[in-house]
Structure formats: C-alpha cells, structure tokens
Symmetry: C2
Subunit: 369 residues, 2 copies
C-alpha cells in the first residue's frame, strides 16, 4: 500500500531521501526528516522486503536483554510469547534498546531499522518516560507486566491485588497480628498493588501499618536473607511475612533454615511465584502465583490483533493471579497452644489436600516436558 516511493512522492522528495530518514543516515535536513517521519506515522508505513511483508515482532529490553536473577520469569514469559506468535507465524527478535538505539533517532526509526512490525516491551524500573515516548510515536507496541495511567499506553499485566488481599486474610485468620512485608524498593505498579493490599487488609482487620515491619529492598535473593536477619534482630518479632517477589521469598526460606528458624512454626511465609518454584522447596511455599507464560501469550496475541486488524485504541488487560495455600503458613506459635485448635485442624486438612493435588499436577507436567 504505502511504499517508500509513495511517501516520497506525496512529500515531493525522492525515495532515497525517505530511505535515508528511515535508516537514520546523516546528511538529511532536520526539517525534511521530521516531515518524513510525520508522514510515516500518519500512513502507518511498515517496511517490506521485496514485495513480501516481513512478519517480525521484537521483544525489547531497555538494558541488558535477559536477567538471570529474575528466576524463571523470563523463560516462562518467552515461552508464552512464542505460543502467542505461533498462530500467525510471526517471528521473534531480541532488541536491546539501550545498546542499539542511536541517541539521535526516534524509537520508530530504531524499530523500523530492525525490520519490526511491532514490539513487546519488557519494562523494568523507571523506564516510564521512554515507554510513553514510544507510545506517543504510535508505533505498535505493548508493555508486559507493568501498569500505566497514561491511556495511550497498551499493557498486559497480572492483577495481584485480590490475591494479595486473600493472602493477608489467610494470615490474619490464622491469628497473625504482626505481619511483615518484604517488598521491592522501586515503585513499579505490581509492587504498589501488593503494598496497597497489605495496608488495606490490615486496616480492615483493625490493625495499623507499622513502618518498622516493612522491608524495602531490591528484588533479589540476598534481600530475603537480610529480611530474616532484620526480623531476628527485632525485640518484638513479627510472626509472619509476605514477600512480594519470588527471589526474596526463597532468600527468606534459605536464611531461616540456615539460622534454625523453623518455617512455619517460628515464622509464617507467603511468597510469590512466577512458575513452579514454590513446589521446589520444602515445605512447599504458600504463595501468590502469577502465570508468566499466559502473560507472554496475551501480550503477543494482543499485539498481533493490533497488527492485523489494525485496531487503534490501547489495550489494557489484567490477568488474574491465584493464592495457593501450602506448607509455609501456620498459626503463630503462641496461639497454637491457645483456643483455636479445631480451626487449625481444618486449615491443616485443607492445606494438605490442595498441596497433594498440586503435587500430582506438577509432576505430570514435568514429565511431559
């Protein structure tokens, strides 16, 4: 439909100049460059090779492409994206924005140069300014695992508020009153949700948020270790902790074990899980679970809907999370001796059966792989 030569003609230029703009070559006037880019966005141009259009989407990371520290989130996400791309036979290409982008060029130019029709953005810390700029350039995109208030930004993410509420209610019902929160120290939206759920739950239960019980750290394994150290050093120890990311939760379990702090007898733990890690520790971890694979799948298929059906309005999709009760939560040590013995029994039963069911399912899926 719209070719380089067509755009050139409509602007009274040569195809060569338009091509130069698209590839961010030097030696083109700033004014004509802007005019060309405007037109490119207006007509929704995308490059074709020969006469065949190229069906490639990018998975873009702001900095380093793959962070191993994020545990199994990235592989699961990628797997889901590939599943989503399958249906229409799109290809996937890695892009590191930080490395490949020329400071002088726009994001549209960068993505065009890479031959991309659209891009799935993995947005980490505070890349919001960049993301919004990309959205404003109208390049087909979708952000995965992050929330934006800006209505022009498309995103798919998990809604962990509800599950976090249920996790907290579970702890409260078991009798915990001193509940710590181990949370990421940079404010992405997922963690904001979880913090809000923590505060709301306490509020509804008539309790107040104690700043001393909130541990803000990077989302890392060692952060979990530090949380345990902090708890142990306290005069009035909390009896439970909600760790809002998987690595921190694992760090907590390991350090507790190292120090002889028994989970769940001495400390109850609700963690977070992106895949199957919760059943790879003992006791099996009670956790808020998000499905990173589905996240990738939804992002990919939403993006392709934009590309093929040409829908213009932003996509904002929330995927549910689940709260799974397993072996790291129990009544606090003091109240275990107290009144609610029958209640404990029933909780114990419910937990056990659910855990067993999970175990079976988990094993089956593993052996299939």
């Amino acid at each position: 439909m719209s070719s380089v030569r067509a755009i050139a003609k409509s602007l009274d230029l040569s195809a060569a100049t338009v091509s130069r703009v698209l590839n961010n070559r030097p030696d083109v006037d700033e004014d004509t460059r802007r005019r060309v880019l405007d037109m490119v966005n207006r007509v929704g141009y995308f490059p074709k090779v020969g006469a065949r259009q190229t069906d490639v989407v990018g998975l873009a990371y702001p900095d380093e492409p793959v962070q191993t520290e994020y545990g199994s989130f990235e592989p699961a996400l990628q797997s889901g994206i590939m599943r989503g791309l399958d249906e229409r036979q799109y290809d996937l290409k890695f892009v590191s924005i930080h490395r490949d982008k020329d400071p002088e060029e726009t994001y549209t130019q960068l993505f065009m140069r890479k031959g991309l029709r659209g891009v799935i953005l993995r947005c980490f810390r505070n890349d919001h300014a960049m993301i919004q700029k990309i959205a404003r350039e109208q390049f087909p995109m979708i952000v995965v695992a992050e929330h934006f208030d800006d209505p022009s930004v498309s995103f798919v993410r998990s809604d962990s508020y509800d599950s976090s509420r249920r996790a907290m209610e579970h702890l409260l019902l078991l009798g915990h009153r001193q509940i710590a929160l181990a949370i990421h120290n940079v404010a992405d939206s997922d963690h904001a949700d979880r913090r809000r759920a923590y505060a709301d739950s306490l509020h509804v239960a008539g309790l107040s948020v104690q700043p001393g019980l909130i541990f803000e750290n990077p989302a890392s394994f060692s952060a979990g270790e530090r949380v345990v150290d902090g708890i142990v050093a306290m005069r009035e120890r909390p009896t439970a902790v909600y760790a809002t990311n998987p690595m921190t939760a694992l760090g907590i379990m390991r350090r507790a074990q190292q120090l002889g702090l028994l989970i769940p007898r001495d400390l109850s733990l609700v963690g977070m899980d992106d895949s199957d890690v919760r059943s790879h520790v003992w006791p099996r971890m009670s956790a808020v679970c998000q499905d990173a694979s589905s996240l990738g799948y939804e992002a990919a298929s939403s993006l392709m809907q934009v590309l093929t059906d040409g829908r213009r309005h932003a996509v904002r999709k929330l995927l549910p999370t689940t709260f799974e009760v397993n072996g790291t939560t129990a009544p606090p040590a003091s109240s275990a001796m107290g009144g609610a013995t029958s209640g404990d029994g029933s909780v114990e039963m419910a937990r056990k059966t659910r855990a067993d069911a999970k175990a079976k399912r988990g094993r089956k899926s593993i052996e299939k792989a």
Copy 2:
C-alpha cells in the same frame, strides 16, 4: 558479491527462478532446484535487503523454544549469546525448527527465508541426525552444549569429565564407598562424560560399579525425589550421591528434607549447577559448575568468526567446569566416629572458607544486578 541474479546468470536461469527456490515456492523443477541450491552453497550466498547485508543470527530450538524446566540454563545462555553478538552488532532471532520448517525444504532454505546469516543450535535429545544434515548443507552453524564425533559439526560445550572426577575423588576421600549416581536417561554427551567419570573414579579406587546404585531418569525435579525414595527403600543405603543435573539435585535436597533425611549427615550430595542455584539452598550445595553464560558467549563469537572471517573448518571448543566444595558433602556417618577425625576437621575448614568466599562473591554479583 553474489546475488540472486548472479547465481541465475551462472546457471543460465532467471532471477525469479532462483528466488523461487530460496523461498521454496512450488512450480520449479526438481532438477533445477537442486542445481540452484548447490550453487548457493558453493558461492556462500546470503540474502541482503536492498543493497545492505542483514546481520541476523538465529537461536534455533528443535521443538519448543524455551523450556522452563531447564532452570536458569536458558536465560544464562541467552544472556551470554547476546554479549557475544554485541561486539559486531548482530541481531538475534528465535527459530523453532519444528514449527517453521516445511518438510519439503532444506534447512538452508529455512534459514535463508528467515534472513539468517548463521545459526546457533540448541540441541536437546537425539536430534543428531538433523544437526548433521544441517552441517552437511554447509550452512554456518554451531551447536551449543552438545558433543559430536562427526568432524564437520561445530560445537561449544562444557567438559565436565575432569570436574566430575574431582567430585568423585572428593567423595571417596571423605570415606564414601557406596556412591549412587543420578543421571539423565537419554544419552547426550555431557551425561556420558559424567557417567564415564563416575565409573573411572570407582575403578581407580578399586571399587566396582554397582548397577543398583545408578538411577536413570529424565532431568527433572521429580526425578530427584524418586531417587531419594529409591535410596530410602534400599536395604544397604548408599552414603553419597552424585546428581548430574541441577533440577535433579534440587529434587534430591527437597525430598530428603521432607523425609527428615539430613544432608550431609545422612547423605552426601554433589550436584550440578548452571548458574547460582547452588547458593540458593541450605546447606549450600557442593556442585560441578558450568558457566552457561560463557557457553553462549563462545558460541556466538565463534559463529561470527565464521561469518566475518569466512573460516571453513569446524569449531570444536571445550569450556572447563569447576568443582566447588560446599555444605552438602561430609564424611559418611559411620566413619565420622572412626579414625579419620583430624582429616575431617581439615576438610571441614577448607569447605567453610571456600563457602564464605563464594557467599561474598555471590552476594556482590546479585546486588550489582
């Protein structure tokens, strides 16, 4: 240099026909198809878009692209590949051979269609026939983490024989005489190495391989659980086990903990690690460690050497692994009471200092991320 039209001319054909062959279009004679493909391989043709050559390499998986069950190996590998590709600004594209390949077309055709200059092959089970076919087609390629006897196949892999020997010697030195082996049940070369090291070490120590002590299972978490179940059910239990892959090792640790079997007191364990998982469990796991990130880096840079310098002969590179003594290995329970108390003490010391050093390094690298 060599274009579609040039090839066409040398064969007395039209550019259209050559293009049809490269894209596996129907309506082209079987004989001319073969002639074109021969010529394409001979002159080392690769597609350019416009007049500019495309700098893209593929990361090809035979079946499903990313297996989350493989733990942190895949992300680490990808990260290394991206590092290797950085230097010459190549791009990386995902390819699932099983999904995208037309049964009628050659592998060269497939990769050409995807616009790839070369391909890094992640070869899982018994894909050797496919790999050899690709190598025979002369398409620039390199296999990662797998060995081939065929001298025409390039590969980069870790050599785990030496470290496995050292691991076994460590166990033998501690006094273990009944050592079990938990190994992958399909014969890839890595696991063949480890099995050979196991047998050789026993032989040198004057012991014989007992078939009852070898557990062959898929490389999965649940396999590790089954190994522990098997050991517990035995009349004469082994006092140590060498698990040749990370997930199985983790499964062993978890199941042991679940059953109240104390590691290393009741059972010593040497595991395997692709990244940092060994320090995410307690006790920290003694393990044979391979560096998946370096593996990816070496594969990528070797491939680019082939692409740019045009070297023809196959690359066969072995990366060393290390054996790290940590907290899951100790003298067997019986001999601990016996004579070698001083020896135990020194081993205990050595282990402790090395573990601490590792802990510091580990923490630092985590906080940098």
